[in-house]
Every structure is written in C-alpha cells, then in structure tokens.
C-alpha cells in the first residue's frame, strides 16, 4: 500500500474524519464495557450524566479540564515547533512546588501582588526545567524525549523528598503533604462555594493569547517554520536554536502554570498525587486539538468529561474507571490516524 497526498481536504472532510475517530473510540470502549458485563449504552449514558448531567457535573468537568488546558497548551506549543516535550508532568510539579514555597507565608504580601508574583515565579521555574533538556538537545544533540521523560521521575522523587523533609506539614498525619498556602496566595473561586476556580479563566485566556501568538506574531511564525522544516528555516536565516529555546521556555512555563493553578486554585497544598498524569494526558489533549490552542480548550473539556463521567459511572455501574484512560489513549491513536487519512489517500498496490 502507498500514500498519496490529497490536494486540500475540504471543510466537511476535515470535520468528518475526527468525528469518525471519536466514534471508533467509543466503539472500542463499548466492547471493553461489554467485557465487564455491562451495557455500553447505559454506561455511556452514565458517563455523559456524570460529566454534564447537572450543574455540579459540569463545574466538576471544567475544574478537571483546567490543568489539562495548561498541559495541553504546553504540549501544543512545543510540538508545533517539533520540540518533543514529554515532561509537562515534571514542569507542572515544579510550578506547584514554587507555589507552595512562596505561597505558605514566606512573602507577606497582599493578594493583588502575591498571586501574580507566585504565578510568575512558577512560570519561570517550569521554563527553566525544560530549558535544561532543550539546551542538551541543541548543544549536544541529546534526544529531548528521553531526557524529559526521565526528568518526570526525578522531579516526582524530588517532590517526595520535599514532602518528607523541608516542606512537610507538621500538622498533617500520615500522608506526606505540604502546609496549606495562605489565603492571599489563593486564586478565588468563580462561583462562591463551588470548586471551579479562576485557574480555568486564566487557562482560557492563555489559550486565546497563544492562538494570537501562533497566528499573528513573528515568534509564532518562526515556531511554525522551524516545526515544519528546521533545515529550511535555518537556511532562510531564522535563529532556529533561539526559536527552539524560546519554545521550550514558553512550553515549560505554561505547564508549570498548571501546577500553580491546581495548588492555588483547588488543592491549597502539594501532595504526591497532585497530578494523576496531567502531563501525559496533555499530549492527548494537544493532539486531539490538532495543536490548535483554542481547540485545546475544547479537547481538554472533552477529555476531562470522560474522566469525571467515568469516575461517576464507575461508582454505580461497576465498570472500572480505568475505561476513561483507555478511551483517552485510544482517541489519541484514532485521531492521529484520522488526521493522516484526511490528508493522504491510501492506495492498495
């Protein structure tokens, strides 16, 4: 079989293919649900109800989508320039660490100053964390995939060390946990008494900002050029290494904001299970959005809905909630296949 490029996919086709990908994902998940002796249709209805069936469910989904928007944007930005940042998980934790270090009373400042300050510090921390692998790639040619992956483990151990050492909350019993951040460092809730916080608003604003950066600015133009063809970009006089380093700083910083948002907006403290793999799921979110920043918001909500809905479904239907992880992983593979098929025609022989 061979692939031949199609001229330009029509709008209808470029919508149809992703839809088919999602349908295929649900079919595969349906088969797995049947293995659990459950009816796929009622299970999916329960997932939908759990994700969007009530005001509580919707707010819960949006809350869960918030860190995914950050990591999804971080991945989308990096992948656009073909910088393979698989370390959003570590960068997110770095943001969380910095938020806790600065937000637990070390800086007695009013909220209006403290929140932006902590945010900026988290951003810088995450940026620097990815700058390392990016530098190794540019200076020595070390593949950033492996270094960013390995850093995920190193940073998680570092968090564990902090939580059992200097950042240990003396009041907490048993579980390693940091002290709570002070009220001035917290992000306010969008609706009082509900869990949805301003981290979501920041995430959406960031997505719009990044869309603008990619479309309209010199940096966005350079990033796309480098991602499409780094050799040509270099020949044409673009500062390829500089662009990749800027991309790394941006991507790492954005992922770290996700950690800031989780601590300052939702959890209040740092724990070892702050992220159930937000960094890795961010890759799926970015790919589902075809690396479009605005699309990331919607794909993050979709993915979060599956997780939130599956958790709710699992409590009543007895299907393991891991079905959500399976669906998310499957959707990644079906989506990249669908994108390819919308651009190329497969010819058998």
């Amino acid at each position: 079989m061979r692939l031949e490029p199609k001229p330009a996919p029509s709008l209808a086709m470029s919508i149809l293919y992703p839809v088919v990908a999602i349908v295929v994902t649900f079919i595969i998940a349906g088969v797995l649900v049947m293995l659990a002796d459950a009816n796929p249709f009622s299970v999916f209805r329960l997932v939908l109800k759990g994700a969007a069936g009530s005001q509580f469910a919707i707010l819960e989904t949006l809350t869960r989508a918030t860190p995914l928007i950050f990591t999804g944007l971080a991945v989308a930005v990096a992948f656009r320039a073909k910088l393979w940042n698989i370390g959003a998980e570590a960068q997110l934790y770095m943001g969380a660490i910095i938020t806790v270090v600065l937000g637990t009373g070390a800086l007695p400042l009013p909220a209006i100053i403290l929140v932006p300050l902590v945010m900026l510090a988290a951003l810088i921390g995450g940026a620097l964390l990815l700058a390392g692998p990016a530098w190794l790639k540019l200076r020595f040619g070390v593949d950033e995939v492996v270094t960013t992956l390995l850093l995920n483990f190193i940073v998680l151990l570092f968090v564990s060390m902090l939580l059992e050492g200097v950042l240990k909350d003396p009041m907490a019993l048993g579980w390693p946990q940091s002290p709570k951040i002070i009220a001035e460092a917290q992000l306010p809730r969008v609706i009082t008494g509900k869990r949805l916080h301003y981290g979501f608003v920041i995430a959406v604003a960031l997505a719009i900002g990044l869309w603008f950066v990619m479309k309209k600015t010199v940096l966005g133009y350079e990033m796309r050029a480098v991602g499409h063809n780094a050799e040509a970009a270099r020949f044409l006089g673009m500062p390829v290494n500089g662009v990749l380093m800027k991309t790394a700083l941006l991507s790492g910083g954005i992922a770290a904001l996700g950690g800031f948002s989780e601590v300052a907006g939702l959890k209040g403290s740092l724990t070892l299970d702050l992220s159930p793999g937000f960094g890795y799921t961010g890759i799926v979110v970015a790919m589902l959005a075809m690396l479009n920043p605005i699309g990331v918001v919607f794909s993050a909500i979709f993915v979060a809905g599956i997780f939130v809905g599956a958790a709710a479904m699992s409590r009543t239907a007895g299907v393991p909630s891991y079905i959500a992880d399976v669906m998310v992983a499957t959707s990644l593979l079906t989506m990249v296949t669908a994108i390819m098929l919308s651009r190329y025609r497969v010819k058998w022989k």
């Binding site: 010199v218 044409l236 006089g237 500062p239």
Partner: protein
Amino acid sequence: MDAQSSPPPALRLSDITKRFGSLTANDAISFELGQGEVIALLGENGAGKTTLMNILFGHYVADEGSVEVFGKPLPPGDPKAALAAGVGMVHQHFTLADNMSVIDNIALGTQPLLRLKLDRSAARAKIDRLAQDFGLAVKADALVADLSVGERQRVEILKALYRDARVLILDEPTAVLTPTETEALFKTLKLLVAKGLSVIFISHKLNEVMMASDRVLVLRAGKLSGERRTAETNRHELAALMVGHEVTPPVVAKVERGALLYELKGVSTARRAHGTALKDIELALHGGEITGVAGVSGNGQAALAGLLAGMEAPVSGTVWIKDAAVTAWSPLAALNAGIARVPEDRHRQGAIADMSVSENVIAERYRDRRFSRAGLVDWTAARAFAQSIIDDYEVKCPSPEARIRLLSGGNMQKLILGRALDPNPSVILANQPSRGLDVGAVAYVHSRLLEARSRGAAVLLISEDLEELLALSDRIVVISAGRLSKPSARGELSISQIGAMMAGHEAA
C-alpha cells in the same frame, strides 16, 4: 528473417501509462529492447524517464499497460519478480546500506531470509569471479561508507550481475562520475553487452547518448516523442526531439565588468561528513559578471555554496564583501550583506512546503519593517508581496494562501527567485537553479539571472549542466577535489578541456 523464429525481445513495454494525481508521468509508452542491445532513454528532467524505469522494476505499478521480459509477462509492483526475471537496476541514488560491507550489500536478499547463517564465503567467491570477468574491481570487505562514488556504482552493477541479471537498467549513471569514470563505465557496458546482456541507460546528456547507445528513445512530457538509430541521427535532431523545438541559447548581451563585490582569499573549510571541503581557494566576483562553477558533483560545490549562503564558516583565509572583511557567519549575515541565495534543493532548503506562498516569500525578510512591527507580522503586506511576485514572475498558483507544496517545481523556483531578487542583491548565489525544471522555466530562470547581471549584480552559478554554464557564464572556474581552477573567459576552454579539469587535471 522469419518473425516466428526470432528470439523474443529482452523487454517489451506495451502502452504503459502512469498518473500521479492530475499529472500524467507516462502516457501510453511502448517499446522493445532487443537482446544484446543498448538503448538510451533520453529526456529532460521531469520527462518521465525515472518513473518508467521504476514501473519496469516494480517500485511503481502502472495504471495501464504491461511489461514482458523475454516473452513472459512481468507481474506489476514486485521488485522481487523483476529481479527473478533477470532485470537488474542501478539506481541514480545508490541503494546501498552504508553501515554494511560490500559483500553484505550484495548478498542482501539473495539467500533465504530465515537461514541461520549467512553464507559469506560463497558470496565472496561469486563476487570475485564476477569482478574479474567484468573488470569491476571492488574491496569486498570494505564498508560501503568508505567507498568512492565510482566504487559504489561498481557495487551496484555487481549487485545486479550477482543476481544473474540479463537486462540492466541504469538510471542517470553518469551524473556523479568524472569524464574518466564515465568512459570506464561505458567500457564496462560494452563488455556486458558482449557477454549477452541487454542495457537501457537513462540520460539527459546528448554526447553520452551518441557515444554509448545503439538506439535512442526520446521522452518528452511523459510521451515517447521519437526513436532513432544512434548511427542515423545527430545531436541537433535529438535535442529538438527532447524539447519539442529547436533549442535557442539565451541571448547574452555584453555588459561592462563592474566593481569587485565578493572575494575569497585562501579560504578553506572544515572537513564534512558528505562531500568535499574547500582547500585554499581564491575567487573574485565582479558586478555585471556571471561566474560559472563546473565540476563533478561532490567536489566541494556544497561547501562553496554554504560559504556564500552563510551556512558554513571558513577555517582559514578571509572573505571580503565589497571592501569589508566578513566576520559574522550566518545565513542572516549573508542576507544582510546583500547576498541572494537560490539553494540547490528547493524542498529541503528553499521553501517550507507545508506553509503558504505568503509565508514563504517573507521568510528571508520578515524582520524588516515592511513585514513586521512590534513583533507582529503584517500579513496584509506579506500577501501583497506574494501577489506581486506571482504577477511579476507569472507563477501559476491559485492564491497567496496556497500551500507551496502544491506548486510545480518551476513555479516554486520562480517564487524563490522572486524572493531572492526582490531586494536588488549585489551578489547572487544560484546553485543548480534549473535542475528539474521544464524548458520554459529554465529559460525564465536564465533570463532573470542575466537581467540581474545587466543590473550590475555578481552571479555565482554552480551547475552540473555544462551547456548551461557555457551559455551563461562570462567566466568559468572548475572545482575538483575542493580546489578551484583559475578562471577562464568565455570561449577560452573547450568542453573536453573543462572535462579534463573536472577530472582533476590542470588546464593544458
């Protein structure tokens, strides 16, 4: 002779048609190759020669038509069947694995894959015998990475002979050879034919075709435009068949030699993995002058082009642009110094295929106030610029928003040329500017280069096409093993003298 009893032709192609999208690469092509015959398949780049041979060898499947080998139909799309039927192919870009030895490359795929041990000694014995019989000396245990281009080609031919090929197809076999190596190759071909093989070789060089073939088939725009016995034709007739009309060389007006604009003094470059480094070269480019660089590919042209383009820095010697020594080495520095670059490989360096025409035309200039302010790209200006190039250069393209990937080679080259020449550069690097273009586009590119020359620009033209060089260049230098010859003025050297210099001999 009675048709019934005559032996079947070595090859018979009947009505081969192959389309890629809207392009018809081969249009109902039929011909026969007699046993013991040498056919030259002549045509311009893009005429469909390589596609046709790829169909023959099974890399591609024809949309219509059939192939017979010694009277038996050949199943389509199966290189293995082609090999089994006795068809061997020497590809233009060698199909050798650099990380393996000559023996391993030749033996690859000749023994049952699931055998527990490769029989290297049997392979070695057969290779030695073939090398002896056909005068193809190779070091059987050498790593292919360490071989010269000529040696690699011998390995390719041995690969085919090892499989007892009776029909040999050579795709542009002389493109990478020096004139001396080319002669040796043609001797080998004679020997092969004497031993009963039949040969097709592909070329776009008229003199070679006249020298080495029994019969010439001419392809033009995917169609067979003519067939001649070599003994009964001449270069002019073939050239006309190839391009469809009498070839008229470009009119070169006389231009006063201008000021010295670019100079290399004793420049050497660092060793490189592929190709040759420059060794202590001298070169002076004057305004109003086209300097042509002749040479066999891989003799330092890439380093020379890299130097002008700012992709490479010298390790010794100095470079002068006008009257200032150059200290900063980057493509951007070259651009800012007024050097325009037309790269050898449009797809790899010249354009970003998946970006739009507007995005591509501003790629060298997007920092200028004309195209961006305060970090924001002015897309309206970019589109207007793209449109102006499209209009000025008669680029066939749906809109400035079209992805450049969808354009033909000639149109892509026009855009690159338009982008490069827009700021009225004082020095122009044109590296293989007409490679792979159709006649119309080639003429267009030539006229634009001559126009820049009339305007007073200095042009460095690097080309493998001697005829192009002779037609355009005011002076010619020959590059060989990283060294440059002294320049000689238009008409001073004959083709054979240049050929000798390309092979590394000093000018007589």
